[in-house]
Amino acid sequence: MRNPGVGSEMRIPVEELELRRPASLDEALRMLRADGSLVPLAGGTDIYVQLNAGVAPGQRFLDIWGLDALRGIAVHGDTLRLGALTTYTELLASPVVGEWLPMLIEAARQVGSVQIHNRGTLGGNIGNASPAGDTLPVWAAAEAAVVLLSLDGERRVPFLEFQVDYRRTARRHDELVAAVEVPRQDGAQWFRKAGARAAQTISKVVMAAVRSSPPRIALGSVAPVIVRARRAEALLAAGAPIADAQAMLLQEIAPIDDVRSTAAYRCEVACRWLARFWEETRS
């Protein structure tokens, strides 16, 4: 067993945790309203890693994995709606997602591990709001909206407003992330992730972009939240030299040094990718 207090905390004993198990979505929402400290538990691929590291996101958890109402991939007009419990496996197998959001397919594919694919969910990625979340730059670049559900019904929050700070979101204590809604994209999609290795890696820096007019460019792992590089986008749309757009980009991101990488590396890659995106999506 590990030694506490030296950066490697001990696994949280399950005896200290509670799991509420609603039989229906409605019961889940009632439980959430009654106890706002409940932490939604979907596939567990983030929460169980945290518990193993001695970090408890809470004491009481709400098991939403069985709530099929939160599953499903459907098109409504010009909007693609993906249920919060959609797993990476379901994304990768969906022809509709393949057609609408190739950048999401690429993000899912690069997660790498089939075991994680089978249990990791979109809602988990969105709800955790880690700036390294693999799918998050896609929502930012696609101008997706997060659908939140409570006993009062649904409300939609644009993704960029949904993320408030590092691992903090606009989800109220009595709400669940129910779905993400994505408009049909108007331009070529582009996605890159830089990690320590080819699979199963937390990103050092990650970028999703759409060659729309103006372009939409989103980066992860370069700030406490996902960044939309709006000023760089505007420069590119106005025909400015790529070097100017890169200089502007550097003002819009604020990467740090951490165990995985350095600020200098993240800046350099972000700039190179900006140029690469612009060049590769030119036609």
Binding site: R21, Y48, V114, Q115, I116, A199
Partner: protein, 154 residues
Amino acid sequence: MRFTLNGRPVDTTAHPMARLLDVVREEFGLTGTKEGCGEGECGACTVLLDGAPVNACLVPVAHAAGHDVVTIEGVPNAETLRETFVEHGGTQCGICTPGLIVAASVIPQGATEHDVREALAGNLCRCTGYQGIYRAIAAAHARSAARAEPGRRE
């Protein structure tokens, strides 16, 4: 909580958030599934949940309730794989082998080596460099195909 474990119905009074890995190993004595990291990185704890490979160190036993769990001790359609893993150097120290065979058991016939690499990206092996594992899986698929072909002389 009731679930099916290697084809048999079982019952557990473990804490609902207990890791499926610990329940399988300690309550049911099935020690073939291993803990290599506790973080869902190494795949040594791979089991099938309703036929899909998952990391048992990240699954609350509550999610097994009403479902089907298969471990190395009960994985179906793996006899040929077990043979070829032994014959072609797919196993050395053996600690990753159970998780690997469980994950490999759902790789479909006709998979290319690239498909196999992708299917096993969540299983770490430190001994083999994976090459013996690819040979074992290719041999297993070839052998199964030969056995399945009607009228073929062995």
